[in-house]
């Protein structure tokens, strides 16, 4: 398979030479031309190539967040600047940021190890919620769960993705990663039909806003995590039900009028599916990033992008919508493309409207910039590239209302910036090496494997065959 890649490149070289000469260009431009071609959208989705000095600067700013908010005792990084709480999604952010920083040369092998090792040690020893799965939150300083809060199947999904990427990127750690994951009881979040269930298990003592059963986008994203670890997950098909600027978009099955639960359509999960998987099927390791083997998913992500570009086109409102966090109330905003019946709805998880807090979200803008090389994303980047404090990291974004800064710095946004820059340099971030691991060997032994392994999944009864 590797040779097929090589073959492609030689083919280009020959073709390129032919055309360049026919246009009468001098030979010394050939090398530059070749680099341009090799980095072009012929082979890569969106932007590809070496980072410019400015982009390296952006990466350093993002990494600054992880320097400032690092807790050496646990290896955890605070979810929000100087708040010592991290949820499982943030643990995944931390792995993503650390791997990306290493790939970009921001940290050396020694520092990489000194960040990864405490984290893996923590993952292998952390208390589990009800003894089953990672708790929703941990105290980033001492690694304790303040109470049994329950778990989030979506957050766990992202962690699974990044532990798999880490395992492939630095195989020397894969044994310890496997051991951490083998502690978890997956039967609590995957049903026999390969569907995620128990998305959020909330305790009555610490009631969090309930989540939809299949959160839009995040569900598909999380599913990839379980799939990378061999669980036979089933994707669902969602009929598009809303249309904005004549672009059909998926909408939630949840009806917030009945359930009181909002399920917003936001950019980030679709962007992460692009950055990490290039909207490919999981076993697709070699196709160029210009080609997505899961065409339906790629098309959906494209529409999510396009509808935001169209809003700019028609309304001249810069748009890059995704959930974001604030350091003061309301702490979490559904900064959506569509929610509860309305386009461009901005609300809290409790359904309170906050149109004034609509945001050009940095994480969404960076993701779109990386994945689609267009004049619109050039414009977006011009708008958001100053949104940082070199001492703190990247902000959450710029308010639509007045252009003001939303200065909160978070683990997720800064991790996404690092992911984006690593993506620009290397293309999709998940490329499985499929080497035999500790878990693979353990799984084959029916006496030793954990209670709920992919091999022990019962037959799906409830679902109708199509």
């Amino acid at each position: 398979m590797l040779s097929s890649r090589f073959l492609s490149f030689s083919l280009i070289a020959v073709t390129a030479l032919f055309f360049l000469q026919s246009c009468g260009l001098v030979v010394r431009e050939t090398k530059k031309g070749l680099t341009e071609v090799a980095d072009s959208e012929m082979f890569w989705q969106g932007r590809h190539g070496k980072l410019t000095e400015q982009e390296m600067e952006w990466a350093k700013i993002a990494w600054q967040y992880f320097i400032n908010n690092y807790n050496a005792e646990t290896g955890l990084v605070n979810g929000v600047d100087s708040f010592v709480t991290a949820n499982v999604w943030n643990i995944a952010d931390t792995v993503a940021a650390t791997v990306s920083a290493h790939r970009l040369g921001l940290i050396d092998n020694y520092e990489f190890d000194h960040r990864i090792t405490p984290l893996l040690e923590f993952l292998n020893n952390m208390p589990l919620s009800y003894g089953q799965l990672p708790n929703l939150f941990y105290n980033a300083k001492n690694g304790e769960q303040e109470s049994n809060d329950g778990w989030s199947a979506v957050d766990i999904g992202r962690l699974l993705i990044w532990l798999q990427i880490l395992s492939d990127y630095a195989p020397q750690y894969s044994e310890y990663i496997d051991k951490a994951i083998l502690r978890w009881n997956f039967c609590k979040v995957i049903n026999e039909c390969g569907e995620l269930s128990g998305i959020n298990r909330n305790s009555s003592k610490n009631p969090l806003p309930a989540s939809p059963k299949e959160p839009l986008g995040y569900y598909d994203y999380a599913l990839m995590g379980y799939k990378t670890w061999g669980f036979p997950m089933s994707h669902r098909k969602e009929p598009p039900v809303v249309s904005i600027y004549d672009i059909d978009l998926p909408a939630s099955k949840e009806d917030s009028r009945k359930t009181g639960i909002s399920d917003p359509l936001v950019s980030l999960p679709y962007l992460l599916l692009g950055l990490e998987f290039n909207w490919d099927t999981l076993n697709d390791q070699f196709s160029p990033d210009s080609y997505s083997s899961n065409a339906a998913l790629a098309d959906l992500a494209w529409r999510i992008y396009k509808v935001q570009e169209k809003r700019y086109q028609y309304e001249r409102i810069f748009t890059a919508r995704t959930n974001y966090r604030r350091s003061k109330p309301p702490y979490l905003l559904y900064n959506s493309i569509f929610a509860d019946g309305y386009a461009w709805n901005t609300l809290t998880p409790e359904g309170e409207l906050h149109p004034d807090l609509a945001l050009v979200a940095n994480s969404a803008a960076f993701g779109m910039w990386a994945l689609w090389k267009t004049s619109y994303t050039d414009g977006l980047m011009q708008l958001v590239s100053p949104l940082h404090d070199p001492e703190k990291g990247w902000f959450e974004g710029r308010r639509e209302k007045d252009g003001g800064y939303e200065r909160t710095a978070t683990c997720t946004t800064n991790a996404v910036v690092l992911e984006v820059l690593a993506y620009k340099m290397y293309g999709k971030l998940y490329r499985s090496q499929q080497s035999k691991s500790y878990a693979d060997i353990l799984m084959k032994n029916e006496f030793r494997r954990p209670a709920c392994s992919p091999l022990d999944m019962k037959e799906c009864r409830s679902r109708k065959e199509k």
Binding site: V37, S40, I244, D248, R257, P288, Y312, Q313, D378
Partner: protein
């Protein structure tokens, strides 16, 4: 193999452009093309879904249909007061201008269909217009929203003496029906003109052609833009028929569409979250525009039955039919959605195809979800039957044609959830049912008198300036 071909192809195409043409600046101003993207084939597929929808060709009523007309007329027999006014709801002495227009619609239809004699028709019309000419207006401007039908006094919503405001949409429907009566029966024209000349249009329509309602809040009068897609254009045609320019009200914009069963259903995009007014999509406004005005422009005095000069509206109406038929085909739930009354609290629901962000939303006037009151509204079912000659139209009529009390008229509706009929009788429902039967027999109800009649209204309008506010002022000075 496939992949390799793909590479080669894109490779050569790209090189051709990049090597031979200039480079693009990274900081060029943002420019966007209008290309339709991957959704561009959509409108074509929608129109193909609408292609097979046939409209009804007028034909004389069958005997059974004539019986239906007689039943609907029963409501008005039972509910007309000695002074000429008619109750909006069975045995409750209160009405609005909208419901009064529905009574006029029922009256004209009953006469045209031969349910009542000419003498009864003319006596009823004379008494009604006579009573209207004696009404006290809200703030001395325009007919109040509600009147007591026995005393003719203006009242509040609890039917106690008082006033609440007025509705331009109600007034628009009234103007449509008085135009129909004037054109068909010139003997009533002078009395009608006299009534309309009393109206003060100054605050109801402005120079941009926007319509306003009035309401009282804490003793102060608020004038608020009134009308949403469907009702707004329908009511505006009433104003146009009387010579007013309704430029903004008549624009379909601002609207957007939502795909339901792959049919792009248009809805008013003014935001119910901030503007209070709901943006309900229902059958009634589109059906009324069809049966009374033929989906024609108000200036169209001569096009044939098959031609609809208000083309976009006619296309929207088709989608309203198609999406309800599609729901029936998908779920087996008979669907003819429109606002209707209830026989229990909250007494009224917007029972919609789409409203406030959700398809098939059924809500009370405050916007609270009330799915248990979703119903086949009889006026909706009759409307669909009258306008479209399709198997689904007949299915609907078969399902509701028996839902009447032989002494009181047709029931308001049939609950979707199987809990029976809505046990209430209304002027609007029975009036529109009669209109539907008249449309089935004669086609478009508005028929312009081919020999223009002398008219006090027209003379006054000719002498007044065209700008809405000045004209309204001038009209007042002429009376």
């Amino acid at each position: 193999m496939r992949r390799k071909n793909f590479l080669l192809l894109s490779c050569s195409v790209f090189l051709f452009f990049s090597a031979c043409t200039g480079n693009n600046s990274p900081f060029a101003p943002v420019k966007l093309s209008d290309e339709g993207g991957k959704n561009s084939g959509k409108s074509a597929s929608v129109s193909s879904k609408l292609a097979g929808i046939r409209e009804r060709t007028p034909a004389p009523l069958t005997e059974e249909e004539f019986e239906l007309a007689k039943i609907a007329w029963k409501f008005f027999e039972k509910n007309t007061q000695d002074n000429g006014m008619c109750n909006a709801v069975d045995q409750y002495p209160s009405t609005t201008m909208w419901d009064t227009a529905s009574y006029i619609g029922g009256l004209v239809s009953a006469y045209e269909l031969g349910v009542i004699e000419k003498h009864e028709f003319n006596m009823r019309m004379t008494k009604l217009i006579g009573m209207l000419n004696r009404l006290e207006f809200f703030n001395n401007e325009l007919p109040n929203k509600v009147y007591h039908t026995q005393t003719g006094a203006k009242v509040d919503y609890s039917n106690q003496p008082g006033e609440v405001g007025y509705s331009a949409v109600d007034m628009g429907r009234m103007l449509i029906w008085f135009k129909i009566v004037k054109e068909r029966y010139p003997i009533h024209a002078a009395a009608i003109d006299n009534f309309i000349l009393k109206w003060n249009f100054s605050n109801m329509i402005d120079d941009t052609g926007t319509m306003f309602s009035a309401m009282l809040k804490d003793g102060k009068i608020l004038y608020l833009q009134e009308g949403r897609l469907g009702y707004e254009e329908y009511a505006a045609k009433g104003f146009q028929l009387w010579g007013f320019d309704t430029e903004r009200a008549s624009k379909l914009e601002p609207y957007q569409t939502i795909p339901i069963y792959d049919i792009e259903v248009p809805y008013d995009s003014r935001d119910p979250r901030t503007l209070v007014a709901h943006n309900y999509v229902v059958t009634e406004s589109y059906v009324l525009d069809a049966i009374e005005l033929g989906w024609d422009l108000s200036s169209d005095r001569s096009s044939s039955q098959e031609v609809h000069t208000d083309q976009v509206l006619a296309n929207f109406a088709k989608r309203i039919f198609a999406v309800q038929e599609a729901r029936y085909k998908d779920t087996g739930i008979l669907t003819a959605r429109t606002e209707h009354q209830l026989d229990q609290p909250p007494y009224f629901v917007y029972d919609t195809i789409y409203s406030d962000g959700y398809p098939w939303n059924t809500m009370d006037p405050d916007g609270k979800l009330m799915p248990q009151f979703a119903a086949v509204a009889l006026k909706g079912a009759f409307g669909i039957w009258a306008v479209w000659d399709m198997p689904y139209s007949q299915t609907l009529l078969d399902a509701v044609g028996h839902l009447y009390d032989p002494e009181k008229g047709f029931y308001e509706g049939l609950y979707e959830n199987g809990s029976g009929n809505i046990n209430i009788f209304t002027a609007n429902n029975n009036g529109i049912i009669l209109e539907c039967l008249l449309y089935k027999a004669q086609g478009k109800i508005l028929r312009f008198n081919q020999s223009p009649q002398p008219s006090r209204w027209d003379k006054t309008m000719d002498e007044c300036p065209p700008e809405a506010r000045d004209r309204a002022q001038c009209l007042r000075e002429h009376t």
